[in-house]
Amino acid sequence: MVSIDVWNASVDFPIFDAKTRSLKKAVLGKVGGKIGTDQRAPIIEALHDITLSLAEGDRVGLVGHNGAGKSTLLRMLAGIYEPTRGTAHIHGKVAPVFDMGVGMDPEISGLENIIIRGLFLGMTRKQMEKRVDEITEFTELGDYIQMPLRTYSTGMRVRLALGVVTSIDPEILLLDEGIGAVDAAFLDKARDRLVDLVKRSGLLVFASHSDEFLVELCDTAIWMDEGRVRQRGGLREVLTAYKGRDPFENMSPASLARLGVAPAVPDARARA
């Protein structure tokens, strides 16, 4: 059973090279804000008292301003940051796609990078070698797969990373906003694969600023604000509250039908 359970979890980053700042603060007195100075190093409270429970089949969008804690939350869900207070219990095989540039060696070929990525995600070399053809086909990289990664465009790297994580049957997929770099045609393809993957066995958490991507991939959403969960609920409800307007407002009837959602509010009013 795939699940993520987070109890009262907080993530505090100590900032060791910001000593001068804490000194200044001590001299100037009260400034307030999120940066604590009770200890030797100042602390950034990236996540504060998060309680979450995600289960199989969930497709959750993460929204919020820059620095609201979306990426940190994703990293906590991946098990990279173990909460400083509280607990996070992650049950299932995690496949994160965060920064596309990291964890890939620019000097070696796409092919070798596929294998290393797979090994990191707990696969064996043999299993990955079997999947290479399928990944090459899915990513449409063709002969580029033999080229060093530094020759790739950002979009091509995203394709590669998505190709790997979707091929290994992960149970928990964590995507950061970087995947916005792919073109529309590929996104269609990736969407089907991702949705299919979540349906089979798994859950998806996706941080993005793009309504378009969010409505394609998610059905519920979490609104992060200053390291806290401000709102959790249906995607449409949360996005409407966050952006102050209905995300489906400007969508064509065709895409609405495809996504299987009711028309946006203004349409409904017009019909009435």
Binding site: I80, E82, T87, P96, L119, F120
Partner: protein, 295 residues
């Protein structure tokens, strides 16, 4: 509220689990370590053979220089310096690259969930591969001077210590190397964690490592220190025993060139292995989960 059924973040259970999972992912670190070597020599014609060549040049140059300085016969002294240098390179590599293991893998640590021990194993495996390349120089050296080393000999006749010469017992170099690698691993875990938190530690280690090289008998032999037959330097024999690096070098180097090795050296190495692992496990227990916050 505490989550049911999960060991708390700071527990030996989680520390051991990290090591266990890392060992299970051996395909990963074996691949990464080898990749590191290939990476370093990418686009050079000779590739990793450069490791062997530079070792050969250094060992030959220093060997001849110090043989002349200390008036040692070359056939015994050259293999001594070469082997000592190879062993030292491994220890030195574990120390200097071990302390920056987590710092250099910052990107991976922050972006992919993997056991921390994977990076330590990657570092030690890389050093092992370097050592295997360097062993080519050793094999050549032994092939040339075998006839001088296969019987009882003195490095500094007529007063030096007698050595038993190469024999089947030389195979004790294999367990000696495994013990050294085991020590490299705890060292990497421990100083890797400490250095990630306190960035002054790598500077401290860098500043003493050069000195440690000269304080350890690698380019000179203990015979030189104790003086030729003179009893006036008895204190040197005592002080000398307090250099743990000497014992580490000795347990591996001595069998490789048929030299005498004290039981005391093995005891010291064994003791340090146990204490070191205990310290590393405590560090893993308390700070394993903090490393991703610190890098």
């Amino acid at each position: 509220m505490v989550a049911p059924g999960v060991a708390p973040s700071r527990s030996f259970e989680r520390a051991f689990d990290d090591i266990r999972r890392a060992l299970a992912q051996r395909e990963l670190w074996l691949h990464l370590g080898w990749q590191d070597i290939k990476q370093r020599y990418r686009r050079s014609v000779l590739g990793p053979l450069w490791i062997t060549i530079s070792m050969g040049v250094t060992a030959l140059g220093l060997g001849i220089l110090y043989a002349v300085l200390f008036q040692h016969p070359l056939p015994e002294f050259l293999p001594y310096v070469t082997t000592g240098f190879i062993v030292w390179n491994f220890i030195n590599g574990c120390l200097t690259e071990g302390m920056s293991t987590f710092i250099t893998n910052e990107g991976l640590i922050k972006h992919l969930p993997a056991p921390l021990t994977v990076y330590a194993l990657r570092t030690v495996w890389r050093q092992t591969l370097m050592m295997l390349h360097n062993l080519v120089v050793y094999v050549i050296m032994i092939a040339i001077y075998f006839s001088y080393l296969d019987h009882r000999y003195q490095m500094d006749p007529p007063n030096g210590q007698f050595h038993p010469g190469l024999g089947l017992w030389s195979l004790s170099a294999i367990p000696a190397f495994l013990v050294l690698a085991l020590n490299g691993l705890w060292l990497t875990l421990l100083i890797g964690i400490v250095s990630t938190r306190y960035r002054d530690i790598p500077q401290v280690i860098n500043s003493v490592i050069q000195l440690a090289f000269y304080l350890t008998p690698i380019v000179w032999s203990p015979d030189d220190l104790f003086g030729s037959g003179g009893s006036d330097r008895g204190w040197a024999k005592v002080v000398f025993q307090f250099n743990p690096l000497y014992h580490f070098v000795q347990v591996l180097r001595a069998p490789m060139i048929g030299q005498h090795v004290d039981w005391w050296s093995w005891a010291t190495v064994g003791g340090i292995t146990v204490v070191g692992w205990a310290l590393a496990l405590v560090a893993m227990r308390n700070y394993r989960a903090r490393v991703s916050y610190w890098v």
